[in-house]
Amino acid sequence: MKASWVAEEEKGKVLKMSGADMLMEALEKEGVDVLFGYPGGAVLPIYDALYKKNIKHILTRHEQGAIHAAQGFARVTGRAGVVIATSGPGATNLVTGIADAMIDSLPLVIFTGQVATSVIGTDAFQEADIVGITMPITKHNYQVRKVEELPGIIKEAFHVAQTGRPGPVLVDIPKDISTSIGSYKPANEVDLPGYQPTTMPNLLQVKRLADAIVQAKKPVILAGAGVLFAKAEEEILALAEQHRIPVTNTLLGLGSFPADHPLFLGMAGMHGTYASNTALHECDLLINIGARFDDRLTGNLAHFAPKATVAHIDIDPAEIGKNVETLIPIVGCAKHTAAALLRESPTSGDTAEWVYQLAELKNTYPLWYKNEGEVLKPQRLLEIIHEETNGEAIVTTDVGQHQMWTAQYYGFAKPNRWVTSGGLGTMGFGFPAAIGAKIGKPELPVVAVTGDGGFQMTLQELSVLQEMKLPVIIVIVNNQSLGMVRQWQEIFYEERYSESLLPVQPDFVKLAAAYGIEAASVTTEEDARAKFAEALDSKAPYLLDCRVASDENVYPMIAPGKGIHQMIGVKP
């Protein structure tokens, strides 16, 4: 097929086809082999064109499931996740996932159906202005007005989504554009004069940073998700080891530096380690690589890195200086910049005392919890999952207590195994994201760690798990409450547990059984380990309902409005 139309084009003949067929051709050209979606009226022509094609389509049971799955896929593969949904409600059901992908910089290309161009603006059946709705939560979006524009727009959409700082791009396709026949001209190049991301750093600034490194006695590297997107893990490791600079991670940056490395301090921020947050507070040189100084990292900005010269390496210039004043700004991708820095900085500063001091803090004030009594502690559960998977599984989460415990106790040994909703903090993200991650990386074990609250937001995707027989292990950290809300109510609202307790729940084991999925409910450490190992061996979908201590809180913690040095719940 492909060869034939290339040949015809060379002969100067033009191929005629429908918009929907053009979409399929363009997707194949982009190397897309899996779509996540849900059909409906306005995308009928697209699904009809798909019927003839050999592109895998994952039919989730809700559009939100489709987009979160695409996010999981994008996070672990580094390629754009592709989503199709119909107009109106189909499109609006994607909004949460689009916003989530935008704030966490995940590459997605989303195709939404739209009502026919003749009725756009008339409040037609299943019409929603999805281009207007998603304008602030997409990197860019399009509405196709002429069928001939389709190949070019799709080419642009993939280019914009996957280059620079990645992000979601939405393409809205009216139904009549899908059906109308036009001459197909494959797009081979993009022409975007207003979009030229800077990837190579300014050498002058790199040299300034190299000088600062020589001068610094107390430097620290803050590695964010930008390191993962740029695949710069090796360069960062080399940089840290060459200059003996301790490394801390943002939540989304976990995995960009080996968790068991002696220079690693753990995660920083609201629930970060004492060593990490102290390092950020005391450092004289803060090298931020690919992080955006989110408020959950910095705490009160007035107390953030007060003694430090701040260097910020980011591919998005708008992030530099947005929250924290930056003396050494470097626009560039983490990989090229770190490599340039390695070349330009032959000499190191004397950091021996600082490294020793932080190692002491790491030993004296590690993450801690009281592992006592019969009831399973959630922290212990995550340690068990780490031990059983050697820290090499793909782990996904929602938002809240279970997310923080996973970040604290899972210990990611390798990059691109950590899939979580960081910026937006979306409940119900983890389970569908695990489906996408498993499809993207079938060779790796995938564990979806969720809370009992979040799981109930997207559990309909159990159907997909069973239909595809995907060996994803769902671990419900079941504390019969919206744990993080409950924790804040305990600490800041005098234990008034307003609407945060979930004493009535489904029997999750029976629920899984209804979908034909193996499941078990455990209450002790031994059972949890045994059943998890069983699940791992079964190579089949598995749900593990873990009844954990319901009053356990996430510590240490920086209370809202407090500085990064004002931690509570540090090991005494």
Partner: protein
């Protein structure tokens, strides 16, 4: 502080919406905004007058505007030698006695009467903000029925002093 910013943009559907939307989202207060074609029909020029708190906010705004895919160029003209003009149409209530008086008042402003009826005249004036404000204040006692203002459009002068304050915008 008040800044005059121009953005050169691709003339694609929704581009104005993108810029105003991002300014709303990031809490920038637009004083006026004007849009029109440039010498090329596919490229438009947008002039935004905006109030920002400080230099850091300003830098954010310039970077965020620049980040839009459809934006080709962003320039803060405030510190430059520039020409800035807006056009105002002012409908003033007149009586046979005041009509000639008004004519005299508007003359130094190089404004002109472009419509006359028995009860009122419509005056067209072009100039910078101060000039427009001044003529409005002078006409106010006669009774202003309606004002329509275009907002500022601006352009740097052909000749500039050679020193710019570029220290904080070097990384764009």
């Amino acid at each position: 502080m008040r800044r005059i910013i121009t953005a050169t943009v691709l003339n694609r559907s929704g581009v104005l919406n993108r810029l105003t939307g991002l300014m709303t989202k990031r809490q920038f207060n637009i004083e006026s905004i004007t849009v029109g074609h440039s010498d090329e029909p596919s490229i438009s020029k947008i002039t935004i007058v905006v109030q920002v708190e400080d230099d850091r906010k300003l830098e954010q705004l310039l970077k965020q505007l620049h980040k839009q895919i459809d934006v080709l160029k962003v320039k803060d003209l405030t510190e430059m030698a520039l020409v800035a003009r807006e056009l105002a149409l002012i409908k003033v209530i007149t009586t046979p006695e005041t009509r000639s008086e008004i004519k005299v008042i508007i003359e130094p402003f190089r404004a002109s009467i472009i419509d006359v009826s028995l009860e009122n005249v419509t005056i067209e004036v072009t100039g910078d903000n101060d000039k427009v404000e001044a003529i409005i204040e002078l006409l106010r006692p006669y009774g202003i029925k309606e004002i329509s203002r275009t907002g500022l459009t601006a352009m740097p002068r052909g000749t500039q002093k050679t020193v710019y304050n570029l220290n904080q915008f070097s990384i764009i």
